[in-house]
Symmetry: C2
Subunit: 361 residues, 2 copies
């Protein structure tokens, strides 16, 4: 399979991954970590699955503090392919900046924006979906990939599918984006077969994206285009950009205006939001009923236990008689909890910040 | 209160404390550790509570490998007060060696032998019991301190009390020593009021102890006396000594022969065999319902949790949503289990030895 002409892969690499503390830190967020044990970080895996489609046409947008790590992890990229945000301004600013630069650089560009911290099990299926989405995007749609719900999750927003798109088999219009529902509502959505998880993956022509933004936030779009025209204005213009997600700034109003399409997708997808989902992804070691292990399996000694053990300090980790336990061992901090309480890890991060120990977060 | 004339405190400092791994190691057994958080190791506390009774009349018997640590922890002792066993030969050899040396050194000596790894909460009550026991021992009884059972434990042997001793108010003859009973049998014992826990604390004139030993194990007694007479014979004679506990070698047959007395004792006593008993001893921090903490409390962040956390590596230890959990954090090994599974810690130690990692045990 060959690369897609004029296709640019955009990777917004942000987000703290607070619920994956102490593995994920503000100094090293989750996209910089190998969370699947395959030897590649989430960022590297995101790059790897896009490289066959984009060749060397990448734009990574990350926080200034993380730029050196990103450059180190992706040595094949040109240094100017990694943009540093002077300060965090949420996904609209990050992805919009990439769009504004690409709009000037390649008038025929179609960009696909894919978060740096997702796990996708089927790269070939993913590639087919991106190809289909690029075809639709060339007709000036804002295209989103709609993940087939694996279960009625209340943790994700949903895409409500509309009519099929003429000329694009399988693609549909998007009726609306809906916020994270209750489990009960999610079950109703899933039962209809007309809802997909919104994974924040968008394929669009840069000019289409910026023009849509300009419709609801004209100054925002103008500022991004001004930075692209004269990068020396970055420090002047960036701090004033609104902190808003692309979903709210563009995707939701554009769906209401009938300008968003969806390519329903069947690849397996995980956003690895917490240690519970990480334990699900990793599963038990083959042939055992013991806990999932991330890191050095030889350093883990588990007796009558299940759950997840992250061995990251070189020390021996012995666990006896605990089901669904989560043990995350790092050189300067240890977490012990349960899969059921995985969401509450952010409480620890909050308390550390409140008690003058932000250095550990 | 003054010291007791001719009273010698003997401290057999042995035992691995395997169920307290990874805190207790073969290289640093539990008696070398501060397990109560009061700043003194169990060995030091044993010394501290005996010093008012014995002044500087101490004999500590320990493994050759641990002698340097013992000498360092008890700097007030004369160096020759700390005897090194060339190899482990159980309690009869250790205590018998002390007896043989004291028999030659002080013909009026009464020795009291107290394990180095017990916790006793009431030193004044303990001192009164020892004084009473010394009085009885001067009449040539082998005297044991009988601990008042706090509950019907199946983890300890019991002392079955006989008739009161004429002339020694409160002291009794010992009818027999009984092995660790079932909980049901223990409950029957406790209900009678005539049984005490056997904590392995003996007070006796050295010559009486060795003569009793000579009755059932004449060569053993002769060998100990030969070593005392000529310490250069230690390496020749020690390796052949039987590995037997004082209870079996002397106390049980002597009780059957009517030569053992008991001073029933009401001081609070713990042998801290595992992390469950350690958690009980430490209790919850005052004013909280959180876990017991041994070590740096400031390094522990517990949310909705109870149990025991040992903070011994300087790292942050965060625990969320686990009841009766046991977390023991040391620089090279971490243990996570429950109070209910505390006995099974020895399985880990066994597995480490079986897999070539004895260095961690």
């Amino acid at each position: 399979m060959s690369a897609i002409d004029h296709f640019w892969a955009v990777i917004p690499a942000g987000g703290a991954g607070t619920r994956l503390w102490p593995l994920s830190r503000s100094s090293a967020p989750k996209f910089l970590h190998d969370l699947t044990g395959d030897g590649r970080t989430l960022l590297q895996s995101t790059h790897d699955r896009l490289a066959p489609l984009a060749d060397d046409r990448f734009v990574v947008v990350t926080g200034a503090a993380h730029r050196p790590a990103v450059v180190e992890q992706l040595p094949g990229l040109e240094p100017d392919a990694v943009l540093a945000e002077p300060s965090p301004r949420d996904s609209m600013a990050a992805i919009g900046l990439a769009a504004a630069l690409l709009e000037r650089r390649d008038p025929q560009a179609v960009m696909g924006s894919f978060p740096a911290d997702h796990v996708i099990a089927d790269p070939d299926v993913f590639a087919d979906c991106v190809r289909a989405a690029v075809d639709v995007a060339r007709d000036d749609w804002l295209v989103t990939l709609g993940i087939e719900p694996a279960f009625p999750s209340s943790a994700f927003g949903y895409i409500h599918l509309g009519d099929e798109l003429p000329g694009h088999a399988g693609a549909t219009a998007v009726r609306e984006f809906v916020e994270k529902p209750s489990v009960r509502t999610a079950a109703e959505y899933v039962a209809t077969g007309r809802y997909r998880w919104n994974a924040g993956m968008f394929v669009v022509r840069p000019t289409v994206l910026l023009d849509l933004l300009g419709r609801w936030h004209p100054e925002f779009a103008a500022a991004l285009r001004a930075i692209a025209a004269d990068p020396s204005r970055m420090d002047e213009l960036w701090p004033a950009l609104p902190k808003i997600a692309l979903d709210h700034a563009v995707a939701e109003p554009a769906a209401d205006a009938g300008q968003v399409a969806c390519v329903p997708s069947s690849f397996r997808w995980e956003d690895l939001g917490d240690f519970d989902s990480l334990a699900t992804l990793l599963g038990s070691p083959s042939g055992t009923e013991g806990p999932s292990v991330l890191g050095e399996a030889g350093s883990v000694l588990a007796i009558d236990s299940t759950g997840l053990i992250v061995s990251g300090s070189g020390r021996l980790v012995a666990v006896i008689g605990l089901d669904d336990v989560v043990v995350v061992d790092t050189p300067d901090a240890l977490l012990v909890t349960t899969r059921a309480r995985a969401q509450d890890v952010k409480q620890v991060v909050g308390e550390l910040k409140d008690t003058g120990r932000a250095g550990l977060t």
